[in-house]
Amino acid sequence: MKDCNEVRNVLWPADVLRVSDDQVQAAIEHAENCPTCRKFLEEDRRVAEFIRDTVPRVCAPRELRERLYTTLARERAGAVPVRSRLRRKREVFAAAAMIAGIAVASGYWLASRSQPATAATAFAEDYLRRVVEQEELNSADRSEIASFFARELGVAMPPPEIPDLEIQRATICLMNGRRGGVVEYEGAGKRLTYYLLPNAVNSEGQTRRFGSVQVNGATSASPAVAEESGLGVATWWDDEHQHALVGSLPGRELKRLAPLFACPAARSLAGP
């Protein structure tokens, strides 16, 4: 191979690995003995390296991450039309210990249902939701929280008042691509978190509950209760929602509190 242009055509770009066939071998031999081609290839490598080193890389804005995850959650949940949203104050999630507690307890809840892969996916999604600090309302006002959930979930859910515990805030969680409501209570050295997940309906019109879990007779009247590492978890179902109470309270106490959270659609601000 004697033509320099042909050699460059074979060996350019110089920074890419290529299969060494007869043509490539001949071009390499030419380049080794041709100062012009050698210079061409050296310069080409340096230019490529320079471009890679100086390329403008930008972090995606936090607001974009928030919008993307919200959009994807809607797509996963079944393409709900985009609604106009009020911009709400977003703060850093301060109660890391509470998250860990919720994670452990919820993990127990999920693991106990023999759905480890589904549980991990759900945690990842909820984690993603929380790290972008989405959709939270720092308020103890029950009517404000009810409006917040009505706007975000289509469920007017005023959280009940619980003796000795005060509402800290309400947030939106994401589990298995489904948006749910979370209310956090705290007081007298105790913490309690309530989860509400609207049941999904599949294309055949069948109700699909969290992680495709089969209901084992648990109803609003008889929540399933478990305790793990000092945390209690109570879960129950009704026709439209799945519920969970997780916190640093004994299981029997959670079982006693569970009826207060039953049937959110029927609960009024005047009630407990």
Binding site: N5, R8, N9, W12, P13, V16, T36, K39, F40, E43, D44, R46, V47, A48, F50, I51, R52, D53, T54, V55, P56, R57, V58, C59, A60, P61, L64, R65, R67, L68, Y69, T71, L72, E75, R76, A117, A120, T121, A124, E125, L128
Partner: protein, 181 residues
């Protein structure tokens, strides 16, 4: 266990946003582009049995979506005529010398300057340069992603590299000359 689509998007989001910004040269349009791309990819990629190269697949959707958005406005990012690659290869890139050491003020100056040079490139060449030199995707794959033939990809790639090397050499000459003066 495989990662969810959301997790994978989260891992690559900064790089995808950088690519979108490089294509559109506008923060707002880059965000819109990435939003539309993510929704499309969510439906398209979840239908594939195994997604072995999520990043390349996302870039393909990003480029396609950008092209379609441009087309809706009567624009074509690859409108400019490429030059024959054989002719292009007769031109040797400009020597970038002395190349500033990473971490030095000269290097930072070059990097800041280079971010501006990207916007001067032809739109189509800029897309090709990103896919080939930044993402290091091979020409035949870039051809598949963009719908161009391989020779056009090579030609645009080389033209973009030449433009970058010429600009860099010129700027270095100016900076070094200024320092000497």
């Amino acid at each position: 266990m495989g990662q969810t689509f959301e997790e994978l998007v989260g891992l690559h989001l900064d790089d995808l946003y950088s690519a979108a910004l490089c294509f559109t040269l506008d923060e707002h349009r880059a965000e819109e582009l990435l939003q539309e791309t993510s929704i499309r990819a969510f439906h398209q990629l979840s239908r594939r049995a195994r997604e072995t190269d999520f990043r390349t697949a996302m870039l393909e959707v990003l480029v396609t979506t950008y092209q379609q958005r441009q087309n809706r406005q009567g624009l074509d990012p690859f409108e400019s005529e490429p030059e024959p690659i054989d002719e292009m290869l007769r031109t040797i890139p400009m020597r970038i010398e002395p190349f500033p050491e990473p971490g030095t003020a000269g290097y930072r100056l070059m990097r800041d300057w280079m971010s501006r040079v990207w916007s001067d490139l032809d739109t189509g060449d800029r897309i090709i340069l990103w896919l080939t030199d930044v993402e290091r995707i091979r020409h035949p794959v870039v051809a598949e992603i963009t719908g161009l033939d391989v020779d056009e990809v090579r030609s645009r790639h080389y033209r973009a590299r030449l433009a970058m090397s010429r600009g860099a050499a010129k700027e270095l000459d100016r900076v070094v000359g200024g320092a000497d003066a």
